[in-house]
């Protein structure tokens, strides 16, 4: 005799009930833990912004953010102003760091939409940092960065991260040997026009002595991730360049 559990009707019923039960359990767990997860992401953003302006626990060759229990205190201490740029309009907004860059980029595909651009002003040891969050595409998925610049658009610090680049290759963009190459690098050319920073494989300057060549050395084996980084820097920082020109003229 055929076993009860071998019947097609039983199999289908079992599958349906199982999916409903498992689905509800997961939905419940996800919504119950969402506040904690969101809070962690918010703190991480603050840590990344502080990291870019040089407020971090770095030791030799190691990336170390300030600890989560200190980040709120440091954030209010070092980030003196948060701005949102929208066209020619610049307003102060203390929650500018919560602006979702991904949503703004998507909305900006519609030409009539004017993008909100967050900008953070940090002050450390009397020096002003202009910190900008940017986001782009790597080889597999999203890559993003926080770039701290001075008023001449010279990079003072940078933090890269990625969602799913190849471990050991593209994933190394969040390592010190790559990120630290950007420090001191110019985003403008000698004439003061915005050109960005190219990730170069045919770099005549692999140890990066020349900071005005608008180039840093690429990671071997991570060509497309590197191209993504360069494209992200050009397209995402260009929209800020009018702010910096404005800044200089005043």
């Amino acid at each position: 005799m055929e076993k009860r559990t071998d019947k097609n009707s039983y199999t289908i019923l079992f599958a349906v009930v199982m999916v409903v039960v498992v689905g509800s359990v997961l939905a419940f767990a996800a919504s119950a833990l969402k506040p904690n997860i969101d809070e962690n992401k918010r703190l991480e953003k603050q840590q990344n912004i502080l990291y870019a302006m040089g407020v971090n626990d770095n030791t030799e060759g190691v990336v170390a953010m300030v600890s989560t229990d200190k980040v709120a205190e440091y954030f209010s201490k070092y980030i003196v102003k948060q701005l949102v740029i929208k066209g020619d309009d610049v307003r102060v907004d203390d929650e500018a760091y919560l602006i979702d860059i991904k949503k703004e980029q998507a909305a900006a595909k519609d030409a009539s939409y004017e993008r909100q651009l967050p900008l953070f002003l940090g002050k450390k040891d009397g020096k002003i940092f202009y910190i900008v969050p940017i986001r782009g595409k790597g080889l597999w998925d999203a890559i993003w960065a926080y770039i701290a610049m001075d008023e001449n658009m010279i990079v003072q610090g940078i933090f890269f991260d990625h969602k799913g680049e190849t471990p050991g290759l593209g994933a190394n963009i969040n390592q010190r040997f790559f990120m630290d190459d950007f420090i001191g690098e110019h985003l403008l050319n000698a004439k003061g026009e915005f050109v960005g920073i190219a990730i170069s494989k045919s770099n005549a300057d692999p140890i990066n002595i020349d900071k005005t060549d608008n180039e840093v050395d690429a990671i071997a084996g991570a060509t497309i991730t590197g191209d993504g980084v360069a494209a992200m820097i050009i397209s995402e920082l260009k929209v800020y360049s009018s702010y910096f020109i404005h800044l200089k003229n005043n």
């Binding site: 559990t5 199999t11 599958a15 999916v19 498992v22 997961l26 962690n40 703190l43 030791t59 989560t68």
Partner: protein, 212 residues
């Protein structure tokens, strides 16, 4: 009495039937996440939770699971448990969840888990399945911890982040005598070599394990 009768379910996978060194399962994650001891321990605990719970759930359902779709059912159970582990890590150990990143998701594909579901839980009672799951996860975990211990100690000179060998920059401790960290230990190939040495030592101690 049942407690002691089944104790071999826990002890066997720790040594003579170890899922990593004898059955050579779960190698991928054993190589990938063992650069630090902490990540190894957390991965071991996560796998223990998933395998222990999963084995019990599968065992409880073993008489009602339609045999035609049993592999899919097993996959759903393990996927659901892994998602819960991932969410809990993201909520309470965010930094760690970033370190483990994709590997938590990869627990789903860890062959030890599907292997124990299929080979043991489908044919045994919940308590025995639970012990089998814990035992196998512990056998996997102990290898992870041994590999993680040596890789972090020799690669970074730290254990769980503590500088046990002194400070490599300030040149204190053993570094004062010219000792250097071996950065190669942090790369995946050295995990494979460390694992190979463990297998070598184990088979040397117990020659019955050597295959022809």
């Amino acid at each position: 009495m049942g407690l002691f009768k089944d104790s071999n379910l826990i002890t066997d996978p720790l040594a003579d039937n170890n899922p990593v060194t004898i059955q050579v399962l779960g190698i991928c994650s054993a190589l990938a996440i063992t650069a630090e001891l902490e990540a190894s321990i957390v991965m071991a605990i996560a796998v223990m939770f998933v395998l222990g719970m999963g084995n019990v759930v599968i065992s409880l359902m073993r008489n009602i699971i339609p045999s035609k779709i049993r592999i899919i059912v097993q996959l759903i159970i393990v996927a659901a448990l892994v998602i819960i582990v991932d969410l809990v890590l993201k909520a309470f150990a965010y930094q760690l969840s970033k370190t483990l990143s994709v590997f938590v998701g990869l627990i789903i594909t860890n062959c030890i888990i599907m292997g124990r579901f299929e080979a043991f839980a489908l044919a045994n009672k919940p308590w025995r399945s639970f012990l089998d799951g814990i035992g196998n996860a512990a056998g996997y975990g102990i290898i992870l911890v041994i590999v993680g211990f040596f890789r972090e100690l020799l690669g970074s000179g730290t254990l769980l982040g503590f500088k046990v060998l002194g400070d490599s920059i300030e040149k204190t401790g053993v570094y004062a005598y010219g000792y250097e960290n071996n950065g190669f230990m942090l790369l995946a190939p050295m995990a494979l070599i460390t694992l190979g040495i463990i297998i070598w030592i184990q088979r040397n101690k117990n020659t019955a394990l050597i295959e022809d």
